[in-house]
Amino acid sequence: MSDFLHRYGGQIGRLTFEHVWLTASAMLFACAIGLPLGVLLTRRRALARPVLAVANILQTIPSLALFGLLLPVPFLGERAARLAIVALTAYALLPILRNTYDGIGSVDAALIDVANALGMTGWQRLRKVELPMAASVILGGMRTATVICVGVATIAAAIGAGGLGELIFRGVASVDNGLVLAGAIPAALLALCADGVLGLFEKRLAVRR
């Protein structure tokens, strides 16, 4: 065991870092797109259906296929990590978008009524009422998205984007279960950690009523 760690410890560390980096970058992009878009959908409800449908479809594309499909795209295909981040962003988008839209949409109608009657502008209503009330639900979406990203990021190794998937793929190719576990266990731990930490925040943000 110690022998194994001695031999692969450095690699596991590096690949874990890559894995986190891929996931974090994708989450950053997914939030940057998903949050404002989710808010926009609550303001233009007619758009909600088609936009959520597109996000839904993205979600259903098998990850290996999506990586493959994106390979020939000029700018993306040049660097594997770039491509992987775009693909991961696509997967992270739906939970964030959906929960932002649903979270804001499910704010008590009486609160919206009062916010309007107090003379809040749309922006004030969003900042003072809707976002704080929906925060926990929105964070729940981010939590789901992060867990999905950590999982899908292992596949990114198939196109040479790095991450813990590299150990798994190498392990599978050389029929070395130790190597597979060396990739799988840290990946699973990452997912559990992200889930636990974000879950804690989610509880914190829940509004007592």
Partner: protein, 274 residues
């Protein structure tokens, strides 16, 4: 106040002097649903004048249009035709945000923001108006006292209060920015009879003290008679009676001049009528 300038009606109507208070001029409202061949008509040419400093009760059964009429005053509902004037100025021509900041609003569900302290809830109108923290704190403390709440309530959250206390906060919030007009939609409908009576007493004293022009929607005749100077009865979106309080009270179930009022009195005081 600059609302004193006379505002002429549109061509075809006589020129009206602007008045303080609230005025409805032939207000109609149909739910906007052109796709299904026209929506429901909720208000039918309602004309009504609420003098400044008075309290008027809008009475009627569910679906009579009283809430819709109330909500035209702060432009939460835009009339399909007709005009609503607040202190002589057409609501439709005003900036909705500015208009609403000058009008208090209390609803049955109260709608306190659960993530905010009571102090922040009460001071919200002032916060939106950009007042200083010190000013807000002072005014909030004063408002809480006026509605009969202890000072330590300020730091608590809505879930830590009883229903009656919460509605007191709702009233305090609505009056904090000294609104020209106070709109109340079944404010005490969800409270038990004892709390309700306490709230009515508190509100009556408060309105006398502040002299705020008030419109209160209720289906409770006794509440209307207790709180209001005038009672307006709505049915199917139209005014069917518009009486001074004494006009209803003196008449009882038999003598009231208006048949609709007589029916309402009889329905709510059945044992008297029997």
């Amino acid at each position: 106040m600059d609302g004193l300038k006379p505002i002429p009606f549109k061509a075809g109507s006589e020129v009206e002097m602007a008045t303080q208070g609230v005025e409805f001029a032939q207000v109609s409202f149909t739910t906007g649903d052109s796709t299904s061949g026209g929506g429901r008509q909720l208000l039918r040419e309602v004309s009504l004048r609420v003098e400044a400093g008075t309290t008027t009760a809008l009475l009627g059964r569910s679906g009579s249009g009283k809430t819709t009429l109330l909500r035209t005053v702060n432009a939460l509902v835009r009339p399909t035709s007709g005009r609503v004037l607040v202190d002589g100025r057409d609501v439709a021509a005003e900036d909705a945000i500015a208009l609403r900041r000058g009008i208090g609003y209390v609803i049955q569900e109260i709608g306190l923001f659960p993530q905010m302290t009571i102090e922040r809830n009460v001071g919200m109108a002032l916060e939106l108006a950009g007042r200083s923290k010190a000013e807000i704190a002072a005014r909030t403390a004063e408002m809480l006292r006026m509605v009969g709440l202890q000072e330590d309530v300020a730091r608590r959250y809505p879930w830590q209060l009883s229903g009656g206390q919460r509605q007191r906060v709702g009233v305090a919030r609505a009056l904090a920015n000294e609104p020209k007009v106070l709109l109340m939609d079944e404010p005490f409908g969800a409270l038990d009879p004892l709390t309700r009576a306490e709230m009515q007493t508190m509100l009556r004293d408060l309105l006398r003290q502040t002299g705020t022009t008030t419109l209160i929607v209720t289906h409770d005749l006794d509440e209307a008679l207790y709180l209001a100077d005038r009672v307006v009865l709505l049915e199917a979106g139209a005014v069917v009676a518009d009486l001074a309080r004494d006009g209803v009270r003196g008449a009882g179930s038999r003598g009231a001049a208006n048949e609709a009022v007589r029916a309402y009195v009889a329905a709510t005081h059945r044992e008297d009528a029997a």
